[in-house]
């Protein structure tokens, strides 16, 4: 356990914000005095058996460091991977599904496709989060537009309840046909089940995802049901502990959309936190970039097994409703990011003369060969070790890297089978991993109509800053931003997040925009937002709402989000322009207004940015041998904590800090910013 921060400074006021990010290995805590911008940090091992224990330990450490009392906390922010892990590892609650009679196998059929990227001879349909043996039907039927064709037969609900009792489930999802247009039957079923099956968590699809297409809505509801008992229990434990500790502040949780919401909202729709952790990182990245005056960034969060890639244009984090969590489409609002199976632990293998990297990962155990925990296969991290990018002794770290083991893994696994030198093998592994990330960077930029060269690359996560220069070279970006603490950016992100929620409604039938009807719908959505603001206790003056219209050409299956406009003509013009920008053409076809959305947000109290004072010219603490393309060279190694604002470092160089290592490639140079960030720029060719 450790903490850092100015030990002499103590919190002067009661304006303290606590942010807790629980990762697989460590729990990171940041405590900020929002008035002075002072930040105290703490790190403690995570406790997978009871994450709330590490939460509390971290809280106490941070308060001690700040010399503050629990009563001084104004707000407590938390990013959680509880829901994510339950979905990815299939370890959620034993859940069941209630659906319309005749449609029991909708979940099993899915979209009846073999995925485009799969081989039809060996693909296996993934097992659903709820097997068909735990799906029961009730008698009812609602038609398109919400007309009731067959009233809900309550006897059939009672029979279903009996069956559910026998299945011994902890959670039940309800998804009835066309419930997005008329939720009455779902609500009544929920009411009856709550009465007859006390203690069982209930999810209605119309509460989680009121949109057309039964398979995707069923899946979202079922995933919500699967994570609900676990998340509810978890949130309750943290709230209890906070109360027992004497913390008066409300608990706010990070959602997949990059905003935080109160514990009450999360308890009713826990699937909203499926991408809580990665979203926090992206929000942190945006705020760290803003502190340097940078608004257009491409973020790459490189972890052990995967990398999350995201684009932020003009300071706006893009959202999508077509996201994916593991095998499953999860059409809930989430940060528009692309996740790929390439990280520090990705394994390199040679098969039939071809070198592949990932998606298989050595994970935390056995981990890369260099970690000396029994891993023997070559990984991306081992490639960095072989090339000297990662010094054998990490500054301030307890862990020494096993260079010999890394070399042996590359030699046996890659270099010999390909008949190449071990350094070339290492460079090859990195090139392939980088290329995968470049593919994803292109997806979020070029495919969305942005030129990556106009963006600053912001790599983070423990392994991110090692790849920054290489990725920037590949996508043609000339600027890389290394935030002050790339390995613990998520905790910072929590403090930078807004309170945020979206309220959307599809029109019963898509068609030409009817502005009177649209205005009415928007007013209703804004009323919903106002109710939510009330629940979250947001003052009138802090409330912001923003209208968005989703349009398409008649017949298309996908909509584009267009900013609100006063007239149908203006909305349509905005849509046509967006369509041309994105796809390169317009159609001479009617334009339909499909969905209206109101985005509600309230800025939170965020710490004022701290300013780094200028320091002496940087002095390397050591020189380490690095295998550069031009040959092996002794390269200066800097300790980042010794660098003052304005410090200039010419590449090649390595900058080491507790939570990450930065590689400044030849031709690149780094300047330390007053915000503490390090900006790397490429010299003109």
């Amino acid at each position: 356990m450790s903490f850092d921060g100015a030990e002499t400074a103590h919190a002067q006021t009661a304006a303290l914000t606590l942010a807790v990010d629980i990762g697989g290995t460590f729990t990171d805590v940041a405590l900020a005095d929002t008035a002075t911008g002072q930040v105290w940090r703490a790190k403690t091992p995570s406790r997978p058996d009871d994450p709330s224990e590490a939460f509390l330990t971290g809280l106490r450490l941070a308060l001690d460091a700040a010399g503050a009392a629990p009563g001084d906390l104004r707000q407590v922010l938390h990013g959680t991977t509880v829901a994510t892990n339950m979905i990815l590892e299939g370890k959620g609650a034993r859940a069941a599904l209630v659906t319309t009679r005749g449609f029991r196998h909708v979940l099993g059929i899915g979209r009846q496709d073999i995925p485009r990227a799969a081989n039809l001879y060996n693909w296996i349909k993934p097992e659903r989060p709820v097997p068909a043996s735990r799906i029961v039907e009730v008698t009812e039927r609602i038609l398109p537009g919400g007309t009731v064709a067959k009233a809900l037969d309550e006897d059939s609900v009672a029979t279903a309840a009996d069956a559910l009792r026998e299945m011994d489930v902890d959670s039940v999802a309800i998804c009835l046909l066309h419930a997005f247009a008329n939720p009455d039957h779902e609500r009544r079923v929920a009411e009856i089940l709550r009465a007859t099956l006390p203690g069982i968590a209930i999810t209605a699809s119309s509460d989680v995802l009121p949109v057309v297409r039964e398979y995707e809505r069923t899946l979202a509801s079922v995933l919500n049901a699967v994570v609900m008992p676990g998340v509810t229990h978890y949130v309750a434990r943290i709230e209890e502990k906070l109360a027992a500790e004497g913390v008066p502040a409300p608990l706010l949780l990070m959602q997949s959309n990059g905003g935080v919401a109160g514990a009450g909202k999360i308890r009713s729709a826990p699937a909203l936190t499926a991408l809580s952790g990665p979203a926090a990182g992206v929000v942190g990245a945006r705020s760290a970039a803003a502190a340097c005056g940078v608004d257009d960034i491409l973020t790459v969060d490189i972890g052990g097994t995967s990398a999350d890639i995201c684009l932020i244009a003009g300071g706006e984090i893009g959202l999508t409703q077509q996201g994916q969590v593991g095998d499953w489409p999860l059409p809930l609002p989430m940060v528009d990011m692309v996740t790929i199976g390439a990280g520090g632990g990705s394994i390199a293998r040679v098969a039939d003369g071809a070198l592949t990297v990932g998606p298989e990962s050595a994970g935390a155990t056995p981990g890369p060969a260099a970690y000396g925990r029994g891993g023997s296969e070559a990984t991306v991290t081992d490639a960095h070790v072989v090339l000297g990018h990662l010094p054998a002794r990490l500054l301030g770290g307890d862990m020494a890297l096993d260079v010999v083991a890394a070399r042996r893994a590359l030699e046996d696994g890659v270099a010999k089978p390909l008949g190449i030198a071990v350094e070339d093998a290492a460079r090859g592994i990195l090139a392939i991993a980088d290329n995968k990330m470049v593919g994803a960077l292109r997806v979020v930029s070029v495919e969305r109509g942005f030129d990556p060269r106009d963006f600053t690359l912001l790599p983070f996560g423990g392994a991110g800053p090692l790849h920054g220069c290489a990725l920037a070279d590949l996508i043609g970006t000339r600027r890389v931003l290394i935030v002050p603490a790339p390995g613990i950016l998520c905790a910072d992100g929590l403090m930078a997040a807004d309170l945020k929620s979206e309220f959307s409604r599809a029109r019963p039938r898509a068609g030409t925009a009817d502005m009177a009807e649209a205005e009415q719908l928007c007013l209703e959505l804004e009323a919903d937002a106002a109710t939510w603001f009330d629940v979250e206790g947001v003052a009138e003056g802090d409330r912001q709402t923003n209208r968005v219209a989703l349009l398409r050409y008649a017949g298309q299956g996908n909509e584009l989000a267009v900013p609100w406009a006063q007239t149908a003509e203006a909305l349509e013009a905005g849509f046509a322009a967006a369509h041309r920008a994105l796809y390169g053409f317009e159609l001479n076809a009617p334009i339909e207004l499909v969905t209206l959305r109101v985005e509600a947000r309230a800025a939170m109290q965020t710490p004022a940015p701290s300013a780094l004072t200028p320091g002496a010219p940087p002095q390397p603490v050591d020189h380490v041998p690095v295998a550069l393309p031009s040959g092996r060279e002794n390269v200066p190694l800097f300790d980042r904590s010794t660098l003052g604002a304005g410090a200039l470092i010419e590449g090649p160089a390595i900058v080491s800090q507790l939570d990450t290592t930065t590689l400044i490639a030849p031709g690149w140079s780094g300047t330390v910013q007053p915000s503490g960030a390090l900006i790397l720029t490429k010299a003109d060719p």
């Binding site: 005749g102 029991r104 196998h105 909708v106 099993g108 059929i109 979209r111 009846q112 496709d113 073999i114 995925p115 485009r116 990227a117 799969a118 081989n119 039809l120 001879y121 060996n122 693909w123 296996i124 349909k125 097997p131 068909a132 038609l143 398109p144 064709a149 046909l177 066309h178 997005f180 057309v212 297409r213 039964e214 098969a351 039939d352 003369g353 071809a354 070198l355 390909l418 460079r427 090859g428 090139a431 392939i432 290329n435 995968k436 593919g439 292109r442 997806v443 495919e447 039938r509 050409y553 008649a554 017949g555 298309q556 299956g557 996908n558 796809y583 390169g584 053409f585 159609l587 076809a589």
Partner: protein, 604 residues
Amino acid sequence: MTHAADPDITTAPICDPITLEIIQGAIQAAQSEMEALIERTAISAFIREKKDFYTAIFDREGVMAVGSMVPIFGDITTPVFEHFPIETMQEGDLYWYNDCYGSYGAVSHSNDQVLLAPVFHKGHRVAFVMSWAHFADIGGMHPGSISPDATEIWQEGIIIPPTKLIEAGVVNDAALAIFHRNSRFPAQSEGDMSALMASVRLGVQRMAEATDRFGTAVLEDALAQLLDRTRRLVRRRLAETFDYGTHRFTDAIDSDGHGNGPFHLRFAIIREKGPDGTDRFIFDATETDDQAPGPVNLLMNRSIPGMALGLFYLGGEPGQVCNAGGPLALDEVRLREGSLVKPRWPAPLGMRGLTMMRVLATLNGLVNAAGGQAPAAQAAYVVALIRGSFTAKDGSATPFLLADGIGVGYGARAFADGMDAVYFVAQENYPIEFTELGYPVSFRTYGMVMDSGGPGAFRGGTGILREYEILADSAMLGIRIDGVENPPWGIKGGKSGAPGRIVINPGTPDEKVLPPLSDGTMLKQGDVVRIETGGGGGYGHPFDRPPAKVLEDVLAGLVSIEAAAREYGVAVTGRYVDEAETARLRATRPEVKPFHRKEYLDVL
């Protein structure tokens, strides 16, 4: 026309394995980006909801290097080169066709439109890109253009021979206008064509960028290596499966919808030593039955058998994910003109999908008969065409076409059950809510068919049950179901899958079972159409299936309690297995033979 020599060419560097992997990734990314654009912008439900579209990238000579993972493309580029010599092509050109006979089956029914464009870099031709999509209606005898009624190809819509749609950037608008004018749904046709053209434009741009990044010579060498890697691997695997000599397998489709059939597919793979001592692999389909009067003929491009075998052998190979090179693995493909797989012009082709699925199953059979481990047979995916008109609110009659592709059960494998309720690669269903919002039908049920999957240690996949009530004033129904007389076979003790069927107004005095391949059935408002699709064949002795899995199938409604006892020897009571009774049932283990189709057989 000649091009200035590219300076890169003279140095002729070889693409190293690492760059090769990177190029493969970059090309696949370009290909999926082209697909994403089509999906997001196309107008017809057939393309953007069902997703009947594919893309591919070819080397500078037109050999496919990376394609969608489906064994249905033929040699796409040669037919264009015959009309427009490769050396006459210019930057900004775009070529178009749907001509099945004119392309030797590269496309195999006229609804599929192919757009092909050369990619140039610094004046030097470096690659070709293709986008392909099924257009919902291109004219022809009935809405949807394909129909079991067809007896000649002119009834299946307008035919576009290889045509230059864009010449150096100038679009031939007249050709497009003629094409759209021939569709019953011209707005869909226009929108879909715009999407397809934008997709090709994007692919051209991406491949030009890739050339810029890697250099012409490296890129060309990479594509050549990708092809060669696959070719070598497939040949190695072919040699492991097929000993020297002739290996045969025969399967059959039921009928052509015009009272003829069954039609047998008699395939052979011959392995021999060539004059130079190296192996020769020959695919021979010459003994296949004569072509059909009805539209079930499959004008099978010579690439298809190699492509299908390639995909089979590449399954599970890391780093071998390009659907290319398979066709090069076969030294010779022998087809007989006038046969079901090489019909003579102008035989109708519209319903060739069922034959294509049977071709894949027959290839599986060849591998299995030779001692390999391919899946048991799958059912042929089903198509229901419901066309008619409904009265709109303003009293006008609005025509509609619901071309509903319905999934089936796939064959069980040596390592897993067959896929339940699947149509094909990348082809999705019309969701219930989507369909009810857009078409005058209401669904009674949508589910899987109990006891349809062929019993086995690994169960065959289940078929689908889809029951519609017609809300339109009237409608005409066309239906395509195969494998009713000859259901998908099981293997190594696994049994055949259940056949599909179609019934109008089931359980009423008006109940009527329709011929499984038929058109012209008139429906009126309130009629109910019940479609059950077939299941896949099983793999291995059903008594070797763990009782817990049988129980799960029973509880899931996929296997009846009776079938659990009868087929699997597993007794289920309530939500549990009766272990004593199961032991008693399993004490007498039925004898099995290598294949099963309605009964156990040594040879199919």
